[in-house]
């Protein structure tokens, strides 16, 4: 239900930039529609916030996340955009800047910019490092100041390239929140030198995060990219939708553990899965997106490479609610972790049976995603993480726990560690931690320096200085600051355990 007073509030807001107003008004318009069939039971679980559609809007008219095949674009150009295949670095960067502007998403900003180092590498001959860095700075600053949403994500690696090293060097200087960077790391492919450079860089600008390439690369039959908040998605496709089961809210509806497993959880799982299919059905069959988008017509994306991301959030809090009488805690007690494991397996089994519409790339199944939370979440811990402030004393115990719970999640789960400043002096130590963690099955890990301006909220980056501005009622460039400001407080991010000595 959209209220006219809300819309007038948007129009008159002094906190929103012009662009932010336009996007909010567009969403308000979409939400005046009522085109999705939602059964009563599903409505009930939505009202209880046991399931949550993440404000995706009432009438889906574009996939949530799109990962264009940038390699094809670079090779062939675009007829619709009237762009010839680029012949040198200037033409390449310019062509990309143009295309990015036309890649839709749930936020209306592109959430995937490609494996930038590999895309740039063939165009570097004949330039000095300084010349390249100047061009990269202009390119990256253009992205930071115009894609004003830090769910935007670029990838690097796994190979050690000159382009990758230069991007890392430039990133450290720029201190931009956008794009997010992830380095795909595989000890068999990636050199220790560039891996250490990546980790060193992250201690200055909270970028890049590190992805376990070995464990993620075979998720799909196509190549994968990391988009938005650590989502592992097929290149040339993406995700139709992401909705989530808010596990602690489901647990609160249960009379006891048996009621949770026998009734509440299965009903929530089914309600959400049916709802996601309803969204996909409308998007594919009625919205006209796949018939009209030039991205489809020019083969930069394909309908058969999209999936539905089935999110879960707050496994920790859910477990702790169910274990309240026993007084056992997720991440600390075996009984609690075993119960959490049982919840995970229950969800996994449900998803392995339930048919998802139009999802051949994932064998017509939804893929599980550790959703990292929303600005309005209170007392709900991201995905399968251990609650902030309750992390195990020893990082080894923490990482072993992560490895156990990352296992059943194919389309994105992660952990974030705040590191002491001294870690800058020893990136090889951080690499040892990454190697050990990835060896045990951790799929994705992010670090930032404890005192840095750039802080990882749940997955995206926000500048502390911008949060302060926003809290004072000033306009800020990036709309993710709007999400990060309450999240930083609600989730007590200042209490995140700092690692390293």
């Amino acid at each position: 239900m959209v209220l006219m007073t809300d819309i007038l509030g948007l129009v008159k807001s002094q906190k929103l930039t012009y662009e932010q107003k336009v996007l909010s008004l567009a969403q308000a318009a979409e939400n005046t529609l009522d085109v999705l069939h939602i059964p009563e039971k599903t409505q009930y679980y939505f009202e209880k916030n046991a399931i949550d559609n993440l404000f995706e809007g009432n009438a889906p008219y574009r996939p949530r996340y799109i990962l264009p095949d940038y390699d094809k674009f670079i090779k062939e150009g675009s007829e619709f955009l009237q762009i010839e295949p680029p012949k040198d670095l200037d033409e390449l960067l310019n062509a990309l800047m143009i295309l990015y502007r036309h890649v839709p998403s749930i936020t209306s900003f592109p959430i995937y910019l490609g494996n930038l180092d590999k895309m740039i590498a063939p165009f570097l001959d004949g330039y000095t490092d300084e010349e390249i860095k100047k061009k990269l700075k202009l390119f990256l600053n253009y992205i930071d100041r115009t894609i004003t949403d830090s769910f935007c994500h670029a990838n690097l690696g796994p190979e050690d390239t000159r382009a990758g090293r230069l991007i890392l060097e430039v990133e450290r200087e720029l201190q931009n929140a956008v794009p997010n960077f992830t380095f795909k790391y595989d000890p068999d492919i990636t050199s220790d030198e560039i891996a250490e450079l990546a980790l060193y860089t992250t201690m200055f600008c909270a970028n890049p995060a590190i992805c376990n390439h070995k464990l993620n690369k075979d998720t799909y039959t196509t190549d994968y990219g990391i988009a938005s908040c650590y989502n592992i998605l097929p290149i040339g496709g993406g995700a139709y939708t992401l909705a989530r089961v808010v596990l602690p809210n489901a647990a609160k509806l249960a009379k006891d553990v048996d009621h949770f497993f026998d009734t509440i959880l299965p009903e929530c799982l089914e309600a959400l899965a049916n709802y996601m299919n309803e969204r996909i059905r409308f998007l594919v069959e009625e919205s006209g997106f796949f018939e009209s988008s030039f991205l489809v017509k020019e083969g930069l994306i394909h309908k058969d490479r999209f999936i539905g991301m089935y999110g879960i959030v707050g496994l920790a809090d859910c477990t702790n609610i169910l274990m309240k009488d026993e007084g056992k805690r997720y991440g600390h007690d075996k009984e609690a972790d075993d119960l959490a494991d049982r919840i995970m397996h229950t969800i996994h089994e449900f998803l392995s049976e339930f048919p998802a519409l139009y999802s051949p790339i994932s064998n017509n199944r939804f893929l599980l995603h550790a959703q990292v939370g929303m600005d309005y979440d209170i007392g709900i811990t991201a995905g399968v993480r251990i609650p902030i402030g309750d992390e195990p004393e020893n990082m080894s115990d923490h990482l072993r726990h992560s490895a156990r719970f990352h296992k059943l999640i194919p389309t994105g789960c992660s952990d974030i560690f705040a590191m002491e400043t001294t870690a800058r002096n020893n990136p090889s130590a951080m690499l040892d931690i990454v190697k050990g963690a990835f060896d045990l099955g951790v799929k994705y890990i992010a670090f930032y320096e404890e005192n840095g301006d750039l802080v990882r909220i749940t997955g995206y980056l926000v500048k502390r200085s911008e949060i302060e501005k926003y809290k004072k009622g000033e306009q800020v460039l990036q709309n993710t600051t709007h999400l990060g400001a309450p999240n930083y407080d609600n989730n007590k991010l200042q209490n995140r355990k700092v690692r390293g000595v």
């Binding site: 020893n394 002096n425 090889s428 130590a429 040892d432 000595v501």
Partner: protein, 240 residues
């Protein structure tokens, strides 16, 4: 098994040698540095007078703690106090460490003659050696001890390629850093080109000794020493 007084175990230490390591701090030191930044580890103690801070542990017990941190660490470092006061314990701990594929380092003030412990040297991957002063009088003024064994260990460890790192805590006037650098070169010769050298900027936090009020050297001074080291032929120099 022999027990040693363990003051602290840091599961993930980023500052005690190459890569990520579990660092084990043993209690008790045989010298009294005027700039010691963890003076609480100096006092010797006996098993019969237990305290809350110090746990007497066998190598096996310590290693059980270390095992939790595999595979996140590439090795262990034993520090102190002065850990070479407990050579038998170190042999037992390092034997377990080597078996698990961990590199095993000693962090030492060098005042114990290590050539007397061939078994320890055999299982030890390397020593991070403090060279606190070159001139013995300076050394004595700074530590109350004698640096004869330090210089002997420098040569001994270098000959065996077990000199993991040389450390100099820098304070102008108190520490004859230039002489130390030149002295090291004349002692170990060309090996300085691949021996790690850490120039540590003195900081007074935690210090309760004579130098507790002393100021940190300037960045210019630290860079001057680094330049001098590079000129002499050191190649792996770090300022911390």
């Amino acid at each position: 098994m022999i027990k040693a007084p363990v003051r602290k175990i840091i599961p993930h230490s980023l500052v005690d040698g190459p890569g990520n390591r579990t660092a084990i701090f043993l209690q008790g030191c045989n010298i009294r540095c005027a700039y010691c930044h963890n003076p609480e580890t100096q006092e010797m103690c006996t098993e019969s007078s237990p305290t809350e801070e110090i746990k007497w542990m066998t190598a096996e017990e310590v290693f059980k703690e270390v095992e939790r941190d595999i595979p996140f660490i590439r090795g262990i470092t034993v520090s102190g106090g002065e850990c070479t006061l407990y050579p038998e314990f170190l042999v037992e701990l390092f034997t377990l460490g080597q078996k698990a594929g961990l590199s095993c380092l000693i962090d030492s003030n060098g005042t114990i003659d290590l050539s007397k412990y061939p078994e320890l040297i055999e299982v030890c991957s390397g020593v991070m050696l403090d060279v606190k002063a070159w001139d013995n009088e300076k050394f004595n003024k700074l530590t109350g001890g004698n640096n004869r064994n330090v210089l002997k260990n420098l040569k001994f460890l270098s000959d065996l390629d077990k000199l993991e790192e040389i450390r100099i805590v820098c304070i102008p006037d108190e520490v004859d850093a230039e002489d130390i650098l030149k002295g090291i070169k004349s002692t170990i010769g060309e090996k300085i080109s691949y021996t790690n050298l850490k120039l540590i900027k003195f900081r007074n936090h935690g210090v309760i000794g004579r130098l507790k009020e002393a100021e940190s050297p300037s960045d210019e001074y630290m860079n001057y020493l680094k330049e001098l080291a590079l000129e002499l032929g050191f190649k792996k120099v770090k300022i911390t």
